[in-house]
C-alpha cells in the first residue's frame, strides 16, 4: 500500500499534465470563436488562461473539476442533495445490493451449468443472448413495469446492477469450477464423494482465483448498472442523476466531477474486492509469488 503512493502520484501527475494540454487544445476553438465574436485578440498566455476558465468548457481543466469536486464533497452537508458524498452513497447502496444479488445469481447459475447437463446445454446460449440486450433500452420498461406492480426505490436500480454483474461471475465461475486438476477430481471420485462434497472441498477452492477476478469486473459493472438505473427513475439522486443534470445544462464541470466521484467509488470497490481476494488467498495457504 505504502509503496504505491509514489507511483500512483507520478502517474496521476502525468495524467493531469496531459489533461491540461488537452483542455487547452479542446477548448481553444470555442474560445477563438468567442474572442472573434467579441472582437478581442488576447495574448497567448491570456488566451490559455481563458481556455482553462470557461464556465462550460468542452473539457474542463483539472483545477476546475477539483474545485467543484471539493466544494460538493466537503463544503456541503452530506445530507444535501447537492453533496457528492450523498449522491455517491445513493449510488453505492444500489450498487452493493445489485452486486450482492448479481454475484449470488452468477454463482448459482454457474453451479447449475457445471452440475446439470440440461442447463449446460439449454441455458448458456440464452444467458449470452440476454446479455446483448442493451439495458438502457429495456431499463425504462423494466422500471415502468415494476412501478406498475408497486416496486420502486432501490430494488429496480439494483436489478439493473444485478443484470449487468451476474454475467462476468457466471462466465468466470463456470471456468473456475471446471478448473480443478483431473487428478484431484479422480481422487474425490475414489472417495465416492458426493457432488456437493466435490463442490465444496475441491471445485470451490480451485475456483477462487477466477471468482475474485470475476467479482472485480462484476462490481465495476454493477456500479455502471446503478448509474444507468438512476436515469429512468427520474434521476432524483445519485451519481447518474448528477451526470444527467449536468448534461441537460451542458455543465461539463459538474459532469466531470460526478465522473471523478464515480471513478473513485469504482476504484475503491475494486480495491476492496482485491483485498478480500488477497485475504482469502492468504487464508488458503497461498504461496507468495
Amino acid at each position: 500500500m505504502k509503496q504505491s503512493a509514489v507511483p500512483v502520484a507520478t502517474i496521476l501527475l502525468a495524467l493531469v499534465i496531459l489533461w491540461y494540454v488537452f483542455a487547452v487544445i479542446l477548448n481553444a476553438p470555442f474560445q477563438r470563436d468567442l474572442d472573434r465574436r467579441a472582437n478581442e485578440t488576447p495574448g497567448t498566455v491570456e488566451f490559455i488562461g481563458k481556455t482553462l476558465s470557461q464556465p462550460k468548457p468542452t473539457l474542463p481543466a483539472p483545477h476546475q473539476v477539483a474545485v467543484n469536486f471539493f466544494e460538493n464533497t466537503f463544503l456541503r452537508p452530506i445530507t444535501s442533495t447537492r453533496s457528492l458524498v450523498y449522491n455517491a452513497w445513493v449510488t453505492l447502496s444500489s450498487t452493493l445490493l445489485g452486486f450482492a444479488f448479481g454475484t449470488a445469481l452468477g454463482i448459482i447459475i454457474a453451479v447449475g451449468i457445471v452440475h446439470v447437463a440440461t442447463l449446460d446445454r439449454s441455458l448458456m446460449p440464452w444467458i449470452i443472448a440476454s446479455q446483448t440486450i442493451p439495458i438502457l433500452a429495456v431499463a425504462p420498461m423494466i422500471i415502468v413495469v415494476l412501478a406498475a406492480i408497486g416496486v420502486t426505490g432501490l430494488i429496480p436500480k439494483a436489478m439493473i446492477s444485478t443484470y449487468l454483474s451476474f454475467f462476468p461471475v457466471t462466465v468466470g465461475m463456470v471456468k473456475g469450477l471446471r478448473s480443478p486438476e483431473l487428478m484431484h477430481l479422480d481422487l474425490m471420485h475414489t472417495y465416492n464423494a458426493s457432488a456437493s462434497q466435490t463442490f465444496w472441498k475441491l471445485r470451490v477452492p480451485a475456483s477462487v482465483p477466477f471468482l475474485f477476478t470475476s467479482m472485480k469486473v462484476a462490481v465495476a459493472a454493477s456500479l455502471v448498472g446503478a448509474i444507468v438505473g438512476e436515469l429512468p427513475t427520474g434521476a432524483v439522486a445519485g451519481i447518474g442523476a448528477k451526470l444527467l443534470a449536468g448534461a441537460y445544462y451542458s455543465q461539463s464541470i459538474d459532469i466531470w466531477s460526478a465522473l471523478v466521484a464515480g471513478s473513485v467509488v469504482a476504484a475503491l470497490l475494486v480495491m476492496v474486492v482485491g483485498i478480500a481476494g488477497r485475504i482469502v488467498d492468504r487464508a488458503m495457504g497461498g504461496r507468495p509469488a
Partner: protein
Amino acid sequence: MTGTSPAVVSASKLGLTFQTNDGPVQALSNVDLTIGKGEFVSFIGPSGCGKTTLLRVIADLEKPTSGTISVNGMTPEQAREKRAYGYVFQAAALFPWRTIERNVALPLEIIGLSRAEQAERIKRTMELVNLSGFEKKYPWQLSGGMQQRASIARALAFDADLLLMDEPFGALDEIVRDHLNEQLLELWERTNKTICFVTHSIPEAVYLSTRIVVMSPRPGRVTDIIESTLPKKRPLDIRETPEFLAIAARVRDGLRAGHSYD
C-alpha cells in the same frame, strides 16, 4: 490363484485403448487376472506398460474398452460407490489450499467421521509416515518425499479393505522405504487387507508380495505371474536369503524379457 478366498478383483480379457490426437494407443490388452481376499499383489513392468492404467480401471477411473472386470463381485463403479478401496496416486495430488493435516482429513470428512475420530486417525497415520510436526504446513512447504508420505497417510487414514498403491515409495530413501515396507506388511497382516501395489523396485516387490505380476509394454500385457513362496512373517533380512534372491532373479528375467533394450 488359490481359489479358496473369494476374488476381490477379477479381470478377463481386459483391454483399453486411448484415442489420442495422433492415433489410438493400446494401453492394456487381454489382461486376465484374479486377486483373492488378503492377497498382496505387486505389479512391476517397464515404464509406460500400463500399470497405472490397470489400477485406474480397477478403481473405475478409466473404463475398459474390451473385456470384463469385477471388484468384490460388483462392477468397479458399484465398488467405488461402496468405497471399497483407497488409492495412492503416482503423484501426491495434495490440495494446495489445505494443510497437510487437513489433506489427510479430506477422506475422513467425506465419509463423515467425527472430529475426534478424525484427529485420532490423523495423528496415527502421520506418525506412521513420520510426518509429525508438519501437520500445519502447506504442501508446497514440504519436500517431494514428504508430500508422497502425506498422500500415503491420507490413503491409510481412509482405511478401506482394498488398497491400490501406485509407486507409493518412489521418492523415498532406502531407510524410510524399508521402514514403511515393514509398517505396510505389518498393517496388511493385522488387517487382512487386499493390496495392489505398483513398484519399480524388484526387491521391494519380492519382499512385500504374495504374488508378483510382471507386465510388458505396448500393448500392456501380463507376461508372468510369480507366486511368492516366502512365509507371511518377513523380517527385513529375509532379503538376503537364497529363496528371496531366486524369486528376485525370476522377476528380473521376466522384466528383461518384456523390455526393448538389450
